[in-house]
């Protein structure tokens, strides 16, 4: 049964005979990553109607609560009188909600937790409109590579404990050069080929400091930093076999054109991205949430 209950202003909850609530107009996906928490609200057609990013901060529990407040305060949802699962508000249809990301268990109002691997895969298939993809997701603390075959995860790898090759690494390096990560990537495009040998963040940082001390142009150092992330991703990709689909980049680094270019050069192909690529996990979570309302 797939009952889509469209609500007018004063509509109250719609209940199915078994007492379970059926189809709410929107579904929520929340991706609590190590640095940023992304929220997506999607209508039943899969159109994104709301997106939000906020820093995760120290406590995922507090972040989850802040997200709930944001959602409830959103005019579109407010007008419908929607509420969140176990949110306490007894008004309007309950939005289905799926949480993902490393803070997924800290969302008390989520119906379900799904790992970021599955969510990223589902989100990427949706965003890029293709059932076969090779996804590179560079997050704050981890980098994931996912091979998607026929809309299903065929293989994946995640980096180990070390933050080399992650967004965090870029941030640390940008800090030592006193620029933002975006500026660093832009600078890198004007840099000469330079390399840092170490794949460990701590050692790489001291190598960068060495380069600064030697008076190496900042552009070249920026090049070396971007190159080191790309090389780390490349090394990781050796642990799986990419499928026939296109290569796409999701996560925080997807907006940096030069980074994409370097990645493309290394992997010998075009690297797709989408304006919503950093929301891929949340998009996937929202799709899982939508599916919760579909009972066959």
């Amino acid at each position: 049964m797939n009952v889509c209950t469209m609500n007018t202003g004063n509509d109250k909850r719609a209940y199915s005979p078994d007492g379970m609530q059926e189809g709410s107009p929107y579904a929520v996906g929340i991706d609590i990553g190590s640095t940023c928490a992304k929220t997506i609200v999607m209508d039943r057609k899969g159109t994104i109607v709301y997106r939000n990013v906020r820093p995760t901060g120290w406590s995922s529990v507090e972040t989850a609560e802040a997200i709930r407040q944001d959602l409830l305060a959103n005019p579109r949802l407010k007008d419908l009188g929607c509420s969140l699962p176990r949110g306490g508000e007894d008004q309007g249809p309950v939005l289905r909600c799926v949480a993902t990301g490393y803070g997924r268990i800290s969302v008390p109002y989520a119906d379900k937790c799904v790992t970021e691997i599955s969510c990223h895969a589902k989100g990427a298939v949706h965003l890029f409109g293709s059932p076969d993809l090779n996804v590179i997701d560079i997050g704050g603390q981890d980098t994931k590579l996912i091979v998607i075959d026929n809309s299903m995860v065929a293989e994946f790898v995640m980096n180990d404990k070390c933050s080399a090759g992650t967004g965090r690494f870029l941030e640390i390096m940008a800090n030592s050069l006193s620029v933002t990560p975006a500026e660093l990537c832009e600078m890198a495009s004007r840099g000469k080929e330079t390399h840092i040998s170490s794949l460990c963040t701590v050692f790489a940082e001291s190598e960068v400091i060495n380069l600064i001390g030697r008076g190496t142009p900042r552009e070249d150092i920026a090049y070396a930093v971007v190159d080191s992330i790309v090389q780390k991703v490349k090394a990781q990709s050796g642990k799986l076999s990419f499928g026939k689909g296109a290569l796409c980049l999701t996560g925080g680094l997807c907006d940096f054109a030069y980074f994409r270019e370097m990645l493309g050069r290394t992997f010998r192909g075009e690297v797709l991205t989408s304006p919503d690529a950093r929301f891929a996990g949340a998009v996937g979570a929202a799709l899982y949430a939508l599916a919760l309302d579909v009972r066959l």
Binding site: S118, V153, F156
Partner: protein, 425 residues
Amino acid sequence: MADYVKMWEDLGMDLETHDLLCQVLPTAVGDVFMTQENRPKAMDFWDLVISEVHGIRPAELIEEQKKGRKVFGTFCVFVPDEVIVAANGIVTGLCGGSQFWVPGGEAVLPKNTCPLIKASVGARLGRTCPFFRIADVYVGETTCDGKKKAYEILGQDVPMLIMDVPQMKRPKDILKWKDEIAEFAEKVEEITGNRITVENLKEAIRIINEKRKALKRVYEARKSECLPISGRDSLLMTQISFFDDPERCAQMCNRLADELEERIRDGVSVVPAGTKRILLTGTPLAVPNWKLHNIIETSGAAVVCEEMCTGTRYFENLVDDSGETLEELFMALSERYMKNNCACFTPNPGRIEDIIRLAREYKADGVIDCSLKFCGLYDIEKKSVAEALKAEGIPVLSLETDYEDSDAGQLRTRIEAFVEMLNER
């Protein structure tokens, strides 16, 4: 709980530090085992043993020592228990499976040594494990580099025998291992003061074969679609079988197998139908290392088989006891032990064949290949394992971990994602 303080004191243990270990273990046992529902009743034996793991069995060993028997501590399934048992010696496993002992090991070993080695050395030097104190002699073996060098350090503190395990499996290597066993037998005779004869060696072979058959019966039950026992409980049984008296071990395993077979007849399963079945392969899981099993089994899957030394490699293949001379029996032992497909061999195609065969026999939906951090042998072999499994269409997840809890979240994410992937297939 009986009072073992006096015994520990007599063993020269560091009681204060040991107290700390005694405090954490019950919580770990409670969290990992007692939270499970519908456990086989016959697990009561292993629950008891683990609840007083530093008490019951050590006390028994000391009683036997008073009668003049010698205790041999071993670190590897290559050491032939039969030879020791034939000479009326006792074998006890000595593998360190707890983070508790790692810092002690790191005090004398490089940090980038595998945690199994660091914990084993730490348990001895820190004087916080009765088994490590009780053993009259340790038996090491030349399997991996880390162990070889660690035995030199342990050898400064305790009598040590080293067996030279071949690194290849040519016919001449099997002969060489037979000679090594024969030489080992002489040393065991010296230490125990007992002669090894065709009769007592045959009897020892029979005893250890019975133990293998009993363990195998439990594992056979795990092949059923109606899974009668969790991976955690099976692992506990296997781990403790390294410490227990072999005859009692066989008896208890058979008792458990009886119950499991009955459960299968009655359709009693410990997991809901459709729960994904995982075969775990890789480095051994020494007590109290239950980390992976616990994460897997609280992520919506069940471990149905372990292709590792704390698993199938411990009991697969019986020793032929038809020989009529010591020479023939030693050869039979060599042939059986050399069937172990440890990653220390090159080349090692047998392990991959085993994994594929076992994955089919145990109807595994996926394989998790996990090695201990800094174990180069198993880590390097992961690639060929993954490729071979992929070629067979068997999903595989490769992991690396140590004894710390700090990576539990990351492991859980990978394992949950793997289970989600299996569920969507």
